[in-house]
Amino acid sequence: MNESHEYGLQDDDARDESVPGGRGPGHGGQDLPGEPGGWPRPAVAEQLLNGEDVADTDPRTAEVAGLLAAARALPPGRPQDEAAVLDAFRRASAAGSGARRTAVAVPVVRGRRWRTARGPRPVRLLVGGALAVSALGGVAIAAQGGGLPHPFGSSDGSTHGPSAPAPTGGGTGTAPGLPRTPGATTGSASPSALPGTGSPTPGTVSPAPGVPTATGTRGLCEAYTKAEREGTTPEGSVIARLAEAAGSAAGVDAYCAALTGSSPAPGHGHGQRTAQPHPGASSNVPVVPKSATPTGASVRVAPSAPRHK
């Protein structure tokens, strides 16, 4: 279990199996799946991955099926998290019935995927991607040295546009009511945070500095922010009015941050977020990303930089 593994620096095309020490005992690399005599056969592998019952006499099949079944037996999360999310949902819905429907731009059906439509920004993405790659490269290296026990050191998946509906970078990162909101606006600061991907709720974006109707709501914002800081729930009426002012419940954080100047990163999260929300496009099954797009291509190349250490 403590064989040395290499996390992160390789992308999908890299031959992970060539990593020294990564192989189990008694295998020299010729027993690859799909090869004659190799386990698992592709059909078996797919059945295992699908969680289907597999009729296979090889004992390895049952062993791995057991392992995967265990991995699926997931415990529930923290009750307080559920409460917080449900609460956020409630508030978003309350605000949504009025303000949100009108304030939120209609999703643009452009492309066939559920990621957000967004303007061209290949350059930013490229730069962001490069930064992310170096940052993550460092993590990955650290992982190798320090035994960071998870696979998430690499950037190869992180920055390609195609798979990025990610509100991650969204100016509002988190919704009101979540104690951890301070990170909300900061999240948007990250250059590789898939600019534009994050902003399916324009409401979060609009209340940038210079919001005209600001004065009256400042007090509300202060109350709201204070409650947030103290981890208490702001009063419903406060939230409702702020949500109205902000355009959506989800936009309250950004709105207040802009208004009170308390934003950790006031410059982010607005202006450039022209993206329209629209994870959905029209299909239920998103089409495979066209990785040949400029963004996809640029990012795909990037990871090779830190790879040779």
Binding site: L148, F152, G170, L194
Partner: protein
């Protein structure tokens, strides 16, 4: 671990999930609760495989993003799983990038197992704690795979994504993800066998 008869999370089928998502989008709180309880454990498992201890926090962030953007989501159950996974994944990446993942030299097993056992023993009766120790171990074994394999296996197994959707989330070619996931299984088997021999 010869037996494959462990408790299996009975997963909603995609149609039912898609239906719940649609109702949640329309503002139905109960439906959102259904979606949450269906997906949250999976997101947690996935995130635990990616970033370990901070999974709960990042899952929370993910959900708040989901709530915020739900109105704009279009798609069925499978695509919702993929969407949520993508958000979680980017959240996790942000987290990593912010340097908030502390490198740990201790094995993931211990910390996660302890945490999970603690959590579940407090809540469940019927020996769920035991089962969840194996869950933690299983997740940690998967997490120790080479990254591309680990992610592919987690998405397929824990989140219930089909191959194309997993590829979509990872932004990779389906063939590459398929290969990675198959190799991951092979390596998991080797790990298991290696562990048993000790």
């Amino acid at each position: 671990m010869g037996e494959a008869r462990l408790h299996r999370h009975t997963r909603m089928d995609d149609e039912a999930l898609g239906d719940a998502v649609a109702r949640a989008r329309a503002g139905e709180e109960a439906a959102f609760g259904v979606v949450y309880r269906e997906l949250h454990p999976m997101l947690l498992g996935y995130l635990r495989g990616l970033i370990g201890d901070d999974a709960d926090d990042i899952a929370s962030e993910t959900w708040h993003d989901i709530v915020r953007d739900l109105g704009a989501f279009r798609g069925g159950g499978q695509s919702f799983r993929g969407w949520a996974a993508t958000i979680a994944r980017h959240r996790a990446l942000d987290h990593v990038r912010r340097g908030r993942v502390r490198p740990r030299t201790t094995a993931l097993d211990e910390s996660v197992a302890d945490m999970v056992a603690e959590r579940t023993s407090a809540r469940d009766s019927e020996g769920a704690a035991l089962e969840n120790i194996s869950t933690a171990r299983a997740l940690s074994l998967i997490a120790e795979l080479p990254k591309d394999q680990a992610e592919a296996v987690l998405l397929r197994v824990v989140l219930g994504l089909n191959g194309p959707m997993a590829a979509e989330v990872l932004g990779k070619r389906p063939g590459a993800v398929r290969t990675a996931s198959h190799r991951g299984l092979m390596r998991l088997s080797e790990r298991l066998r290696g562990a048993e021999e000790k």
